[in-house]
């Protein structure tokens, strides 16, 4: 009788499973599979497949609308359009620190972030502040209609001016 209870608890001495242990393992295994499935299900459910977010490509208007030697912020799209002697370029106005919208300070000739005080030059290079990286240059081109187009989703590694 004691031997029977011992077998029930620990299985056969040769290491094989008895009926109860076998079913316990089947049960735990099924729970693990169901748990993993639930995790995948939850992750997929919580990730939207369709987003109603604005397009990353922005029409910044006619080049003539920007005065020479100027930096212009479009707060709705979060980009700066700068016009210099060499041509046009677009900068992301989203601070590389924590995503606040920076602003052009014409009296100081710099770009400043209102949230935590990061400062940038008009070409996006960092002057000061907690921001870890400069403001990225964004790909810019001229559309067939002669409008300046900016792709907010493609920062450029190499600086390129758009010459008109």
């Amino acid at each position: 009788m004691a031997n029977e209870a011992e077998r029930e608890k620990h299985g056969d001495p040769d290491g094989s499973l008895n009926r109860r242990q076998f079913f316990v393992r089947i049960g735990l295994g099924s729970l693990a599979v169901a748990g993993a499935g639930t995790a995948v299900f939850a992750y997929q459910f919580l990730s939207p497949n369709v987003l109603y977010e604005p397009s990353p490509i922005v029409n910044a208007g006619k080049p003539e609308s920007y005065p020479p030697d100027s930096v212009t912020l479009d707060p709705a799209t979060g980009i700066f359009v700068a016009r210099e002697a060499q041509g046009f370029y677009a900068l992301s106005a989203v601070c590389t620190h924590l995503g606040c919208l920076t602003a052009w300070k014409p009296e100081l000739g710099i770009i400043a972030c209102p949230c935590h005080g990061s400062k940038f030059n008009r070409d996006g290079t960092k002057i000061a502040g907690p921001a870890p990286r400069p403001l990225p240059w964004l790909r810019m081109w001229l559309s067939d209609d002669g409008d300046l187009m900016v792709d907010r989703s493609s920062p450029m590694a190499v600086r390129q001016f758009v010459r008109i």
């Binding site: 992750y43 939207p48 995503g99």
Partner: protein, 254 residues
Amino acid sequence: MAKSLTTYLDELRDSRVWRSIFRSGPGQSNLHHALVVQSNVFLHLFSVKARKRVLDFSVTWYLGALTFGAFLILVITGVLLMLYYHPAVPLAYTDMKDLQFVVSSGVFLRNLHRWSAHAMVLLVFAHMFKVFYRGAYRPPREFNWVIGVVLLLVTLFLSYTGYLLPWDQLAFWAVTVGSNIASAVPVFGHRIRFLMLGGNLVNANALLRFYVLHCMILPLTAIFFIAIHFWRIRKDGGLYAGTPTTVAEKEGEA
């Protein structure tokens, strides 16, 4: 002579309907008082008796009870605010303004909700400091301290999710900054931010997610852990009385 009020109450307590709801019936004995607590689904979380000393103001400053009081005010005012609030863009902002200027007592409820939220965060911290400096976190109460830390986090998440709901500039930028902090998590940071906001921007999806978290998921989590927190006080030997420091106290304890 007319019967006294106490007699009427005793008769009420002895009636069949009353006794079918509250099993204890009339009586003033200690056993009776104990039964009242023990046979009530809410009260049974607490001890049937406590040392007189631990009920003194100086022992706890009633900080835990005050925190729970703030939580109750927040639940009641919050449910009422939900009746006038649509978690949608741009309705959320105008609904908030309507609560301030159009809805009767709306501004009172909104301000009560806001101030109670600030008070609750303050009280949670004060409660934790009090527990810490009295040494009430020590065994056998160490697990209840852990539950308290969970409740602190739930409180902070409630504050954070509630902060977005007015959908004003302050809310928008605070959550922009907060979600970018979340994206600083190594490897999964951007996925966490995407799941949190339901997109890449703080937008309608983010507002709805924060609303569901704020009004359903986090309050239910809080209630779940508050119940355990209270029940553990009883299970861990009642409120912490502290070690007596003066002779008078030692005699009082004995």
